[in-house]
Symmetry: C2
């Protein structure tokens, strides 16, 4: 048991309690949690062990969730989670990446031991860490269980952040302000893209003079030139040249909590078309930030953006924001609320949203985003960084 | 179409041809590839877009595989893969992380368009990027298709590396030698762990004076003190102290190809028990490296290790090595050959294996590993770095 988890024990208990309320409403008696961010949220467990199958079992009638994972990671669960030894179950190494047995076979045995093998079992059906074979193993081994879709159940609990969580996000915001400054300073004609990327990640991990940073769930997205016409490229082995446009989608991270931030830089004078797009996007972003407040829906926010850019050269088909918070690779988004048509979720105080109107056109792109927390009357921008196309 | 992909077009065609041979042997008529490393291996596509559903469709009677992914990543496929525009299909944003429709609904439509919706469809059942819901969507939308388990089909093709692939791994080895030196230099009493981690990742991305590096599929594993008793912890917000033991499991990466390397450092003089364990592990590693040659099986290599450590204080239940190569988060291992009891795979020239006898005991751990390539007569150690417990 970690004597100093990142949150008070009462906070973990409150999270479990909200999770069990949702389980009850959805008819789930036992929840199998495999999303590493959800595991961390409920137990505090933190390690780069999610490349093997692991998880938590949350029961209605057992106070502590039960952690399971590879035996060699059990000490990691003892050192990082608030769970007692009796709630930490390591499986033998012959379950790892084997075609003879699957770790979910072990989980079925564990459910039997816990007397929970005939209950309604909720699973995270569309999670990266719950494969088709996980489902198949459970269905085969637990003929009397009813396996239910509990995808995103814990993610929806995570949507409302506690003051302590927002505190970590504010700390991450200090980190990303520095990271973005380092990026802007490092990128110059003649500098290799990989060297600039190295400075960026170094700044992420160094954090501030008061605290260091953790790794972000996404490596720096920092394409240049024609590569800015698409959304998720990193860097390549070349030196920047005069005239290069560079997108920067970066984050600070503290105790797994992110502050994502996007900006755009050009080495030289911007073409008129880019300047027009930049102006339209930043104006639209400012209008959206002025519009966000409790009571409006995700789709109403997007509609405000759509209205702002109508008549400009900006075309954007993709969503313009999403809930974020604590996470592990491959994504820092929480996959719940999105700012897009059809999203009926009502914004409420303490939701954290990355307002991200990224635009990727045929020949170039432009990004300028803000991570915000919804307040009682509007929103708080976590980051203080100029909203402009940076020109070198 | 990328005019300069990382490999010659003939090499991509040869990979596809070997993939189709395996498909034929396994009775698979259409293969749905969702593992980002497999996508990259067959098409060259490279982007941090794997957090949304994407993939390749490999047909028997269509030369080019068909890439599908989010619309905003289509330009990324045009810029990084060797595929022609006709083989790149973006889906609309309303498929993204929605509870109304699933990207695999789009894939079913695409299969119908390709006339391949009634064939035997192989899917990567235990991949991070093939969730239970992917399977469910395909099964519901393709009632006339026969969905088969083709897990690791492409991974097994990847087991034998080409000269060009080994070339990138040698380049990655130059990077990791430097990364390990930087780690050893940076870790001192009074230095914050996050600051040292920052130097490590900076060195990974800076690469060498001739070429820069790419991101590794795993962030630096570098626990200290009691945290060395487990396998996959990163760093925490504290300063190193005199007497600290630090595990370092790091990698260099060039064009997605890894060279992983583990070493152990102590700030001060090692306790006798640690010195004994270090000696036993390094002796055992040396014996194993002398034993590896074409014709021996994975389990025979492990048995050689087990024999070497018998009578010492070293206890190790977990596998002591695995195939590696190109990869994306969360793992640089290829999940095929493992050095462990029961592994009947026969080693052959051009296989790449991370020989990784990591030991995690109750109070401390020790790691010393070597990435190797099997040669005609034995093995080539890719990395040149002293095999010793480093003492500061």
């Amino acid at each position: 048991m970690n004597p100093n988890p990142f949150f008070a024990l009462e906070e973990y208990r409150a999270r479990l309690s909200k999770t069990r309320e949702r389980m009850y409403r959805q008819g789930v008696e036992v929840l199998l949690v495999t999303d590493p961010a959800n595991i961390n949220y409920l137990s505090g467990y933190d390690g780069w062990s999610f490349y093997v199958h692991q998880g938590l079992l949350v029961l209605m009638d057992r106070e502590e969730p039960v952690w399971f994972g590879r035996m060699q990671d059990s000490n990691g669960a003892r050192l990082t989670s608030w769970l007692s030894d009796d709630s930490i179950r390591g499986y033998q190494d012959h379950y790892v990446q084997s075609n003879l047995r699957h770790p979910m076979d072990f989980v079925s045995d564990l459910l039997r031991e816990l007397g929970a093998d005939k209950r309604r079992l909720g699973v995270e059906t569309d999670n990266y860490y719950f494969s088709a074979q996980c489902h198949k193993s459970l269905a085969a081994n637990l003929p009397q269980a009813d396996i239910l879709d509990a995808n995103l159940l814990v993610n929806w609990v995570r949507l409302l952040k506690s003051p302590a969580e927002i505190g970590y996000m504010r700390k991450a915001a200090r980190v990303v302000e520095n990271v973005m400054r380092v990026a802007m300073d490092s990128i110059n004609a003649g500098v290799r893209e990989g060297d600039a990327a190295g400075e960026v990640v170094r700044a992420q991990l160094r954090g501030t003079s008061e605290y260091t940073g953790d790794y972000a769930a996404i490596m720096p997205i920092m394409p240049s030139g024609i590569r800015t016409s698409t959304a998720h490229l990193t860097w390549v082995d070349r030196a920047y040249e005069k005239g290069d446009l560079v997108l920067l989608e970066l984050a600070g991270n503290v105790h797994r909590y992110h502050a994502p931030l996007s900006r755009t830089l050009i080495i030289g004078q911007p073409p008129a078309e880019l300047a027009d797009v930049a102006k339209a996007v930043i104006d639209g972003l400012n209008q959206v930030l002025g519009f966000i407040k409790p009571g409006v829906t995700g789709e109403e926010v997007e509609a405000r953006w759509r209205k702002a850019i109508s008549g400009t050269k900006v075309v954007k088909e993709s969503r313009m924001g999403y809930a974020f918070g604590s996470n592990y690779p491959p994504d820092w988004g929480e996959r719940t609320l999105s700012l897009r048509p059809g999203d009926k979720n009502v914004l409420a105080p303490s939701m954290a949203i990355h307002v991200m109107p990224g635009v990727w056109l045929d020949r170039f792109g432009f990004e300028c985003s803000e991570p915000i927390v919804v307040t009682e009357t509007g929103c708080e921008c976590l980051v203080d960084y100029p909203r402009e196309l940076a020109i070198k």
